[in-house]
């Protein structure tokens, strides 16, 4: 790594910078020309109508799109001074630094303990004492410890939906990433479980950079420091069909987005008038 890059890494206020990012699925352009800077140890929320490409952008940050055949990213995603899509970057390392929590809780069909120990074991941690310690700390970190400490051998699938999602968060923080991406982590949860996760996010943000996709305006207002509003652009084609792609409309501090948005489109969407 060059000296200049190293300097950027330590001094930069931004954890992740997206420069003119386009994402394609095969021939289809899914999101066009997204540029935004994500701040360190802050919560950034992505909002916008369904299909506008929030998940797509989120997944381009930790190269999860690589797993989809035909998906392609152009532009730069700069993380700690390095373009994650440069040819010398290993996606495995990217995902180890930038963790992800999915919309639908997806614990492995293994015990709670093995779920949390999965990541550390991948990295080669073998000692039982070390693993025990990591499991306990991660489960405490996701506020799940008190509920499961007596049956860590129980299957992760035997937990309730909210508990499963917290297990997935524990699993993610077990390998100490710098950044956690969350794609609608509360969309399948009731208000109480949602509240628990939100509290957890406020706690986690003291250590981690968090990016969250949400459809819940109140949630964005409650937890996010910064909010990015995405929307859809269309172009009519012959035969009544059309071509659609997502764009970033507005990105600012959360109160500004919700109280004095710059664009009418943003105002209409948060006012509930949007498709």
């Amino acid at each position: 790594m060059s000296a200049a890059k190293a300097a950027r890494q330590t001094t930069g206020a931004y954890a992740i910078e997206l420069h003119n990012v386009n994402v394609f699925y095969g021939e289809k352009l899914a999101v066009k020309d997204v540029s935004l800077n994500i701040q360190r140890q802050k919560i950034t929320a992505f909002i916008g109508p369904s299909g506008c490409g929030k998940s797509t952008v989120l997944r381009s940050i930790n190269r999860m799109n690589d797993l989809i055949g035909g998906a392609r990213v152009t532009g730069e995603v700069v993380y700690n001074g390095e373009n994650l899509y440069a040819s010398n970057i290993d996606a495995v390392e990217v995902r180890r630094r930038i963790g992800m929590v999915f919309q639908k809780a997806n614990p492995f069909p293994k015990s709670i303990y093995d779920n949390v120990a999965y990541g550390p074991r991948l990295l080669g941690v073998r000692g039982k004492k070390q693993l025990d310690e990591i499991v306990e700390r991660s489960l405490k970190g996701s506020f799940l410890w008190d509920e499961v400490k007596n049956d860590l051998k129980k299957s992760g699938l035997a937990l309730s939906g909210g508990q499963q999602q917290r297990l997935c968060i524990a699993r993610t923080i077990a390998i100490e990433p710098d950044t956690i991406l969350m794609d609608e982590p509360c969309s399948a949860l009731d208000p109480i479980a949602t509240q628990a996760i939100e509290e957890l996010m406020r706690e986690l943000v003291k250590k981690y950079t968090i990016v969250i996709v949400t459809h819940n305006m109140q949630q964005a207002q409650r937890v996010a420091d910064m909010t990015a509003f995405f929307s859809i652009r269309k172009e009519a084609l012959e035969g009544g069909k059309d071509r659609r792609w997502g764009v970033l409309v507005e990105y600012a501090h959360t109160p500004q987005i919700f109280e004095s948005p710059q664009f009418e489109e943003t105002e209409r969407y948060i006012g509930g008038e949007f498709g």
């Binding site: 797993l67 055949g69 997806n106 991948l122």
Partner: protein
């Protein structure tokens, strides 16, 4: 939007209560009809199964009339040969069948070409055998009866000596058999027939279950009364187990490669080749098994004979492995495909490499499905006869298989061989063989199913 475009006719139809009621009746009626059909299908399948079992059991159990050349009671107390030491068993052979001792040496100690058996010296014929002093350079014909007896005594164990005595000295012959139904419902008639035809010559009438310990543990025999399935059972076990050991890793490996490494590839050429391979594998699953036999004959028996030793267990297992490979690959592919992609994403999201994801997440979740395919393949390997006939499994063999390169026979071939013989008694023995085959199938499948249950439990509990 949609509501506005519905025509008034359609709307009227949707609101017509009478039409709805009439229609509902016929909808329910059609449902009941299908249900009845499914029930009948089940009953038909069940009846077919019952008929099969009845047919087999009907021949495998029943009254028989048996006669001996020499009654075993005259040889041992209560006719129990097992109580006699080896020396006495050999003595019985010497007393009764002195001129056939060389034949027993050939059948039980010699594995080579029968044509040269009488012409070569013993040291060239019999390796790993303890020869009586000073006989190494003699041919078998030049040995005295005592020396031949010593040769047998030194090298053949008690169970095999008993088998020889039973078959050659006691010579039980079955004079008549009755089916199970006849034995149960026409006993008086059987009794009368026995008194009239056989009682005078000293034969005995008794109820015989053809599946008994002797049947399981004695080798084949040219005498149906003494014939056993031992060699074939061992041969089947050998072939099936070696087959699975070959086909399982190759099949699962191929499935993993197709599903996890090349499917969903951006590269359209890889995708095309992938599709081509998959289609071919699917077609291979439907190729008649006899064609695999021809392939096995050409490759494993002929071309690779220096390695496989020709018509041996390893050739058979390789052929069977080819035969069941498509079944295992297809089922493993389905199982791997059924693993939710959310689990793969979770694993990759935690920084797992592709192989770590496959090994730690995909395979454990797919294992029950993979084992289902293996069970199907195994069942097929146990039952297949045609390819083994082609590659030349032995139809008559007295040796237990000893290794990958030994000659062998398997149960289906034994059964086929027995059913095609003229004597009635062999057909009864064949029925017993079928039952043994079914039981073996059941045991092997049960083992695999237990493994599968265990794999499944570890995923849920």
């Amino acid at each position: 939007m949609a509501v506005n475009t519905i025509s008034s006719e359609t709307q009227e139809y949707l609101r017509d209560e009478d039409a709805f009621k009439r229609n509902l009746r016929s909808r329910h009626f059609r449902g009941r009809l299908w249900r009845r059909f499914f029930q009948l299908a089940l009953v038909a399948a069940f009846l077919a199964l019952i008929a099969l079992f009845f047919n087999i059991l009907n021949s495998a159990l029943g009254y028989v009339v048996e006669d001996y050349a020499i009654n075993p009671i005259t040889l041992a107390a209560n006719g129990d040969l097992g109580a006699l030491p080896e020396e006495e068993l050999v003595m019985i052979l010497v007393e009764n069948r002195a001129n056939r001792l060389p034949v027993y040496v050939r059948d039980y100690l010699y594995a080579g070409d029968p044509a040269v058996f009488t012409t070569l010296p013993l040291s060239a014929l019999l390796s790993n055998t303890v020869l009586p002093a000073g006989t190494a350079d003699l041919t078998i014909r030049e040995l005295s009866v005592e020396q031949q007896a010593e040769l047998l005594l030194n090298n053949i164990g008690q169970p095999q000596l008993i088998a020889i005595v039973e078959e050659q000295v006691i010579e039980p012959t079955i004079l008549q058999t009755w089916s199970l139904t006849a034995s149960l419902f026409e006993r008086d008639q059987i009794e009368a027939e026995f008194q009239e035809n056989y009682a005078a010559q000293g034969a005995t009438l008794f109820f015989k279950s053809w599946i008994n310990l002797d049947f399981l543990t004695s080798p084949m025999s040219s005498n149906p009364a003494a014939a056993g399935a031992r060699t074939a059972i061992l041969g089947t076990l050998y072939v099936v187990i070696v087959t699975i050991f070959i086909a399982f890793p190759i099949g699962v490996g191929a499935a993993i490669y197709l599903e996890e490494y090349t499917s969903g590839s951006q590269n359209s050429r890889t995708a095309r080749i992938n599709r081509l391979i998959e289609t071919n594998i699917r077609n291979l699953a439907g190729v008649p098994s006899i064609i695999y036999g021809l392939l096995g004959l050409a490759i494993f028996v002929r071309a690779l004979s220096p390695v496989t030793g020709g018509r041996t267990i390893i050739s058979a297992a390789l052929t069977m492995a080819l035969l069941i490979l498509p079944v295992i690959i297809i089922n493993a592919q389905e199982a791997i495909r059924a693993v939710p992609s959310s689990l793969r994403e979770a694993s990759y999201g935690l920084g797992a490499t592709r192989w770590q994801t496959i090994y730690k997440v995909v395979l454990p979740s797919a294992l029950p499905g993979i084992l289902t395919g293996t069970i199907l393949g195994m069942s097929r390997a146990i039952g297949e006869t045609a390819p083994l006939i082609i590659i030349g499994a032995s139809t008559f063999i007295l040796f237990d298989p000893t290794g990958l390169q030994s000659k062998f026979t398997v149960l289906p071939i034994l059964i086929y061989n027995w059913t095609s013989r003229p004597q009635d008694e062999y057909r009864v023995a064949a029925a017993a063989g079928i039952i043994v085959l079914l039981i073996l199938l059941l045991i092997l499948n049960a083992t695999a199913i237990i493994l599968r249950q265990r794999a499944r439990r570890s995923l849920t509990a």
